[in-house]
């Protein structure tokens, strides 16, 4: 905090850091506080909760939620929403295991193909959102129905298989660091830098914050929307591949619930549904908060049913609290 008030000119790198800190959403202290609180409470209530072993497990298990939430953050920053994520995860998972079908040589082309598929579907979402001028809620719901229907037509149950060793993505660790989560962290860092410092990143915020102003300064709304929805599509496809790595096979309901689940960390992390404010750092903390909370509730033997209640209350409390802060600000 002290660095932000200094007046002396500073080297470029340090200025970049200051810029970064200044641009952080004001909700971040709340999320960090909640994380600390949760950790302290958890460590007190369950002895094994605070162990490094458990924390690494939580980190490992948060990868899937992290992927989808990262994509959702891009979309929400433009004031949109992507509800086709769950169906995309299922479709990608089925394509992955269905097309690889136990053939090691097929892994590379199928993985690339599935990611391209995700990007393409996402780009269509973005293009339709721009062209039709309907709320993306409707467009992506429509796309979700199409993807889900197509997945079920492809197969009503689990399909295909993957070779041994494909699970290295989900379960492998290098120097104790889980691969999936390491990739998640790397993607969050790249996304954070991209959003903060690239031209396109600023355009994403502009389109979400003030669409009219963005139009007047010549930002192509179509281009921005196509890119953010494509990012969301790629992340959902990646999640599908990750889940196949974890479960060994893809099935049509694998991604169910991921679209709504992906929204919670984004919102808890302080990104505003109206768009234009927030960022991926908040989402990352939101992912950790959600995963840690679920882990603690499991430790405490709280049934899934009460976990749902708690999840709903968290959304209400987080959003209501943030809104109050904004009004006072």
């Amino acid at each position: 905090v002290a660095t932000t008030t200094a007046i002396r000119p500073r080297p470029a790198l340090q200025r970049a850091w200051i810029l970064l800190i200044r641009q952080l959403p004001p909700q971040l202290p709340i999320v960090i506080g909640l994380l600390v609180l949760l950790f302290v409470v958890g460590a007190t209530l369950a002895s094994r909760f605070g162990t490094a072993r458990n924390l690494i497990n939580v980190f490992e298990q948060s990868a899937a939620l992290g992927f989808v939430s990262l994509g959702q953050t891009f979309v929400i920053l433009t004031g949109g929403i992507d509800l086709s994520i769950g169906a995309m995860v299922s479709a990608a998972a089925m394509l992955t295991s269905g097309l690889i079908d136990g053939e090691p040589a097929m892994i590379a082309p199928v993985v690339v193909g599935v990611l391209v598929f995700g990007a393409t579907i996402g780009a269509i979402n973005g293009a339709l959102t721009h062209l039709l001028r309907i709320h993306p809620l409707i467009i992506t719901l429509g796309m979700a129905a199409i993807l889900q229907g197509a997945s079920l037509l492809y197969s009503r149950g689990p399909i295909g298989k993957v070779p041994l060793g494909f699970d290295v993505f989900a379960f492998g660790r290098t120097f104790g660091v889980p691969h999936g989560s390491a990739l998640m962290l790397a993607l969050f860092i790249i996304a954070g830098i991209w959003l903060r410092f690239s031209r396109l990143g600023r355009q994403v915020y502009a389109v979400g914050g003030d669409p009219e102003a963005a139009r007047l300064v010549g930002i192509s709304r179509a281009r921005v929307l196509i890119i953010v929805y494509a990012v969301s599509g790629v992340m959902a496809a990646l999640t599908g591949i990750y889940l196949v790595s974890r479960a060994g096979v893809g099935e049509p309901m694998l991604g169910q619930g991921f679209d709504l689940a992906s929204i919670t960390p984004v919102v808890v992390g302080g990104t505003i549904l109206a768009g234009g404010r927030g960022g991926v750092l908040g989402t990352l903390l939101g992912v950790f908060l959600t995963s840690l909370l679920n882990n603690l509730l499991n430790f405490l033997d709280v049934s899934t049913f009460y976990q749902w209640i708690i999840q709903g209350l968290i959304i209400i409390v987080a959003v209501a609290a943030y809104v109050e802060r904004q009004r006072h600000a």
Partner: protein, 327 residues
């Protein structure tokens, strides 16, 4: 006073405006065309038993759509309707399957429950300024958790036998639940088109700021719309379990989306202030007829999903572009 309100020139939502007429006849034309195509595509479509089936299936969704329309009109969105339906059904089982005499009491309690859920949604949206999407999403999840915690996840509980009659019975050749839908729809359409409250709904949805400046308590109107939606969702839930014959924790699953799709297809604008009950119900009819066709033509059921997706996008797209030209 009410005449003055009427005289204010604003984007018209009433049937006697040219634009409104074009909207409504366009939709009606499309519905009739769809019915003709359906009849030509498969002769069994027009069989009385199929038509009765169609209306029986459409009625619970229609009830939910009525309330959803009110919420959409005030620029809202209610994702908690399906959860409200299932929870109302579970609440109803708390009375036990004693006698049909308690059915009115069950309805009363469930409607009160729906009103309470709607009030929570409405208060979150207005007083806490939570976006309707998130507020109703959170309420949906909380209700789901509470319901499962109560039933412990099983399909527990039975209802008085009369519910089956309400859900599947016929009166003068028409399904009872469809007659109930018509009565409910007429009542709510009258409220929307004839009462001062109805005008306020359109004003708040069309331009909340202007409505507030004009002395309308926009928050109260909005809360009332969410309460109406909660109540119709509860009623729809009770009729749906009557039709299905089983109280399930997932009763009405998917209705949150179907109700929005039907209303939007029926010309209710997601941006608020525009749309009618009749239009929304035509949207329901279109949706149900299309689903029915998939079954009758012996196509894979999965096609229903794909079709739903395509219609949502195409219909909403067409409608929005048309509105764009008109205004």
């Amino acid at each position: 006073m009410s005449n003055e309100t009427l005289a204010v020139p604003r984007r018209d939502t009433r049937s006697f405006s040219l634009a409104g007429l074009a909207d409504r006849w366009g939709l009606l034309g499309f519905t009739i065309l769809l019915l003709i195509v359906a009849a030509l595509a498969t002769p069994s479509f027009l069989r009385p038993s199929n038509l009765q089936n169609l209306l029986t299936q459409a009625a619970p969704l229609g009830m939910v759509v009525l309330g959803q329309t009110f919420v959409l009109l005030v620029r809202g969105l209610d994702l908690s309707v399906a959860s409200t339906m299932a929870t109302a059904a579970v609440v109803a089982t708390a009375f036990g399957a004693t006698s049909d005499a308690i059915i009115p009491a069950i309805f009363a309690v469930c409607i009160l429950f729906g009103l309470a859920v709607g009030a929570v949604n409405g208060l979150l949206v207005t007083k806490r300024r939570v976006s309707p999407f998130l507020a109703t999403l959170a309420v949906m999840i909380v209700l789901q958790g509470a319901r499962f915690a109560y039933t412990k996840g099983s399909n527990s509980g039975a209802l008085p036998p009369g519910f089956r009659e309400l859900g599947t019975g016929m009166i003068l050749g028409l399904p009872i639940n469809f007659v109930a839908l018509v009565v409910l729809a007429l009542g709510l359409a009258a409220v929307l088109q004839l009462s001062a409250f109805g005008r306020r709904v359109y004003l708040v949805g069309g331009n909340p700021r202007a409505a507030t400046l004009g002395g309308i308590d926009a928050d109260r109107v909005t809360i009332a719309c969410y309460m109406i939606c909660g109540a119709t969702a509860s009623i729809g839930g009770l009729f749906l379990v009557g039709y299905v014959g089983l109280v399930d924790n997932w009763t009405g699953r998917g209705y949150e989306l179907d109700s929005i799709v039907a209303a939007v297809m029926g010309g209710v604008a997601l941006t608020g202030g525009r749309g009618t009950i009749l239009g929304a119900l035509l949207g329901v009819l279109i949706l149900v007829v299309l689903f029915n066709l998939v079954i009758l033509l012996g196509l894979p059921v999965e096609l229903q999903l794909i079709m739903k997706g395509v219609i949502i996008i195409v219909a909403a797209g067409l409608y929005v572009t048309r509105i764009g030209r008109l205004s």
